[in-house]
């Protein structure tokens, strides 16, 4: 801690001052952003909702639910879809990734078809899925599953295939069999790559669930956005956007903690 009676050189005083400024700047920028929002809403004949309107919309939504769900229930419905799809895609994705990362023949057999599927963006499946399975729960979860599966498989596969050769050689020298090489060396050493995939898959899943709900659904946060858009209720749109941002950020934080729990050695800082 700096104290006033400590004599500081010119350079020290300067850096001390700069550090103080750096601490204040984030607050200024956030305040500016909110001010900008107020100004944009206050401009003449703009139908851009102001923060108060968004907040009021939040309260009315709690009192008068849309399709029998209030805001938190809509968010919860979306989250449930995401969680189911994520868990299934992690289990299948990691298993499949290990298979094609470890076994060269399996890789040759499956990876061309898999690459073809992977290069199709998850959103492009939406029309086909709604056509095949309607607009119920299953097609949405399936879409989220497909969006979340790809990053998990890709990362797991590259993690397993790029295990440092020395580790495997050491295992071979100690007479490890194939199963031991895989379970005791390859999988632990590629855990960080697998977790990178899990992180990507979580944010991808959150994005896909929105798109899936926007293109045909009767509940969920994506549905709220479309509802607001179609009825010109932009306060509702903005409210949902804020919630989407918050939930997205929370999901990212949660996966980070999960990573810290499962493999603490991968986090450098």
């Amino acid at each position: 801690m700096q104290k006033n009676n400590v004599v500081m050189s010119e350079a020290e005083r300067k850096s001390f001052l700069l550090n103080k400024i750096y601490k204040i700047l984030p607050i200024i920028s956030v305040v500016l952003l909110i001010l900008l929002w107020f100004i944009a809403a206050g401009a003449e004949n703009s139908n851009f909702p102001s923060p108060q309107e968004v907040f009021l919309r939040f309260i009315t939504l709690q009192q008068k639910p849309i399709k029998e769900f209030n805001l938190f229930q809509h968010i919860w419905i979306s989250l449930i879809r995401v969680f189911i799809a994520l868990i299934v895609s992690w289990i299948i994705g990691i298993a499949f990734g290990i298979l094609i990362g470890w076994n060269k023949k399996a890789n040759a057999l499956f990876s061309p078809v898999f690459t073809a599927f992977r290069s199709v963006p998850p959103l492009a499946w939406v029309p086909l899925m709604t056509m095949w399975f309607g607009t119920g729960e299953f097609p949405k979860i399936l879409l989220v599953f497909m969006g979340a599966l790809m990053p998990v498989v890709v990362n797991t596969q590259s993690g397993i295939a790029n295990v440092a050769k020395m580790y495997l050689d050491v295992g071979t020298i100690f007479n490890a069999n194939g199963k031991q090489l895989l379970i005791e060396i390859a999988i632990p050493s590629s855990l960080d790559a697998i977790f990178a995939g899990i992180r990507t898959s979580t944010s991808a899943a959150w994005m896909v669930v929105l798109a899936a709900e926007m293109l045909g659904g009767r509940s969920g946060i994506g549905f709220l956005i479309v509802r607001g858009m179609n009825s010109g209720d932009y306060a509702l749109c903005l409210l949902s956007m804020v919630c989407i941002g918050i939930v997205g950020a929370l999901l990212a934080i949660m996966t980070k903690y999960l990573e810290r729990l499962v493999c603490p050695w991968t986090i450098i800082k």
């Binding site: 700069l18 499956f110 959103l123 492009a124």
Partner: protein, 279 residues
Amino acid sequence: MSNSYKNEKMTDTERISFVKNTKRKDDYLIIMISIIGVLGFLIIWQLAVVFGLLPSRYVPMPTEVIKLFAVKLVDPNPEGAVLGVHILASLQIVLTGFLLAIVVGVPLGLVMGWYKGFDSFMRPIFEILRPIPPVAWIPLTILWIGIGLKAKAFIVFFSAFVPCVINAYAGIKQTNPVLINVAKTCGASNFTTFYKIGIPSALTMTFAGVKVALGNAWATLVAAEMLASSAGLGFMILQGRQFARADIIILGIVVIGVIGIIFASILGYVENRMLGWKK
């Protein structure tokens, strides 16, 4: 590993040719298995439809999709444009948004990573806007910019912008401090150090970000074309849904996938040309 080495002694040349032979055989086997995988997938799909395991109304046969591809090259029915027009319209949207994202995002990330004051100012704004997926911007985009090319490019821009910023930022943060100190010792100003040392050493990471950005931009296409449009691959898919024509949807999906692969390989080539000196 699984090669069974002969026990009898071999001369060096024999051994070299033996190893080469087994390697060639392995490569050949791998390629054959790959081809079997792709063909097997297509054949199973085709047979499943032919024998009625899958309803042909909802699942067109691969051969039908290929036939439709040839037809769509010249026939604008039923959704009103030929395939070439769709592709051009989509490329226009995606490339506009993507280039804009590079022009704005990469310098922003670089400057944020280098100048602390700017970082602490921009970071909170960026962190607030980042977790909102591009699809969620659609209503606001309509409100602000309408539904034209600009609006669609804006949605694509948003998806491509974030990886550009993050990677440029991370890349310049990882600049080797030794290099920076050398520059300082030689009397370079902060800006010169940024320009001559920070930017070149951040290029690899930045390029990785650009690759992700292009993938994201292309993936957001369908979302962007949910806004009113009269052509585009995403539009074609959505129209296929309207007409309940699964073959049109699948053709659209295939074309989107193929163009995505072409994009990725072009960027990989450019990266090799531009960053060859790094390796």
